[in-house]
């Protein structure tokens, strides 16, 4: 199977980059042959929406899964909508992360991170109505 690992360097022995949207490289690995190639992440320097642009790059490589440290609330629905599995909690090198995945030691996540509720102290003052707030949806 073909997977994508977020990496801080261009080869299999580079430490993984725990950030999805702003990682330096995506290493595309065939887990059967361990053949791989590196793609520079041009979203790393995006001012906003890095996770979204990174997800678009990854989606174009037709991988089945992404292995990374954590995925932000923007990239999560994007990867899901592209049908890509998300495996988080990876540490060590790219090679080690792929091994761990093969041994079933990585966690596959299917729901976005916790939603955070707003709070209302000191907001009285006759302003009426609290602050309705949805899910965390931003990752710049």
């Amino acid at each position: 199977m073909k997977v994508c690992v977020t990496s801080s360097g261009p080869d299999m022995d580079s430490p993984i980059d725990p950030r999805f949207g702003r990682c330096a490289y995506f290493i595309i690995v065939d887990t059967d042959t361990m053949q791989h190639n590196a793609i520079e992440n041009d979203a790393a320097m995006a001012s906003g929406g890095a996770g979204i642009r990174a997800a678009q790059t990854v989606a174009s490589t037709n991988v089945e899964a992404v292995i990374t440290g954590s995925v932000g609330p923007n990239a999560h629905p994007a990867l899901q909508s592209a049908g890509i599995k998300i495996m988080t909690g990876a540490v060590g090198t790219v090679r080690e992360a792929v091994q761990k995945m093969k041994q079933g030691q990585l966690q596959q996540i299917s729901t976005p991170g916790p939603a955070h509720r707003g709070m209302g102290m000191g907001r009285g003052r006759g302003m009426g109505g609290g602050r309705g707030q949805g899910r965390g949806r931003r990752n710049m």
Partner: protein
């Protein structure tokens, strides 16, 4: 008359000056354009407030018409669109509302719909009219809310604007159309440095301006030297006074407790009026 109170640095007393100036003048209206952190209302006793949504157009995708061609996401400079396997996702908080995606879509599948990005509040406080905006948390673009606040100004009235700190785009947006700019600074190296940045912007905009030194007396006087060199009048000095700091902390505008200051703010207005009228 539009007087904007600004400062290169936050926390120099910009809001204090704006609120006290407005409270000292008959019929003045106060506009808080610091929509990221509106504070003027925390210094005032608010009456009933009217709240109105501030909206921005944001794309809505007709998934039936969409062929997932990807042109919209490719065009978007702000990464607000993602083309998935079977649908296009919209990230409204990334959107700058430029409208480009709906123009470029070859299938006519994108229609813009209004989306709330903040709230415009209008009401009375301490006997004056107050308008302020509040940007929703997590929204990056303040200018639309600032525009909404400014849309409530009437040019034939006395409008006092409390600007956001700094010299970035929300500040420029706020300053434009002003008749006079009051730059509030404090006599510290930080204050002077930020004043210099603000002065550079103001000179570029070509708006008449003067400096208010807050917490006067704590520094080494270098702000006076600076103003002299750059030919900027110091129009008011507010001393470093624990009483003023305490009144601020509990939300009391100091002119209410120290009425002699009302007279000084009125004098200040007189000076501003003269400068503005002589320019016309």
């Amino acid at each position: 008359m539009i007087i904007t109170v600004a400062s290169g640095k936050g926390g120099t007393g910009k809001t204090t000056v704006a609120v006290n100036l407005a409270l000292s003048l008959d019929g003045a209206k106060l506009f808080d354009c610091d929509v990221e952190e509106p504070n003027a209302h925390t210094l005032l006793r608010l009456g009933e407030l009217d709240a109105q949504s501030v909206e921005m157009p944001t794309p809505h995708i007709d998934q039936d018409k969409c062929t997932l061609c990807g042109k919209c996401a490719e065009f978007c400079q702000f990464n607000a669109l993602f083309v998935g396997k079977d649908r296009v996702l919209v990230y409204p908080e990334m959107c700058h509302s430029c409208g480009g995606c709906s123009i470029i879509c070859p299938e006519d599948a994108i229609e813009e719909q209004p989306r709330k990005v903040g709230t415009l509040f209008t009401g009375e406080a301490n006997g004056i009219s107050l308008v302020f905006g509040e940007l929703n948390i997590g929204e990056p673009i303040a200018t639309s809310v600032i525009k909404a606040v400014k849309s409530r100004m009437k040019h034939d009235e006395v409008n006092i604007i409390d600007a956001p700190p700094g010299t970035a785009c929300p500040v420029i947006e706020t300053m434009q159309e002003s008749d006079y700019l009051l730059l509030v600074t404090e006599p510290t190296p930080f204050g002077l440095h930020d004043l210099e940045m603000a002065v550079n912007v103001v000179k570029e905009l070509g708006i008449p301006h003067g400096v208010v030194v807050n917490r006067a007396g704590i520094g080494d006087g270098s702000e006076r030297k600076f103003c002299e060199e750059r030919d900027i009048p110091i129009v008011m000095e507010i001393p470093f006074d624990r009483r003023i700091a305490e009144l601020y902390s509990v939300g009391t505008p100091f002119v209410e407790d120290m009425p002699e200051w009302k007279e000084r703010f009125r004098d200040l207005y007189g000076v501003i009026e003269e400068v503005v009228n002589s320019g016309e």
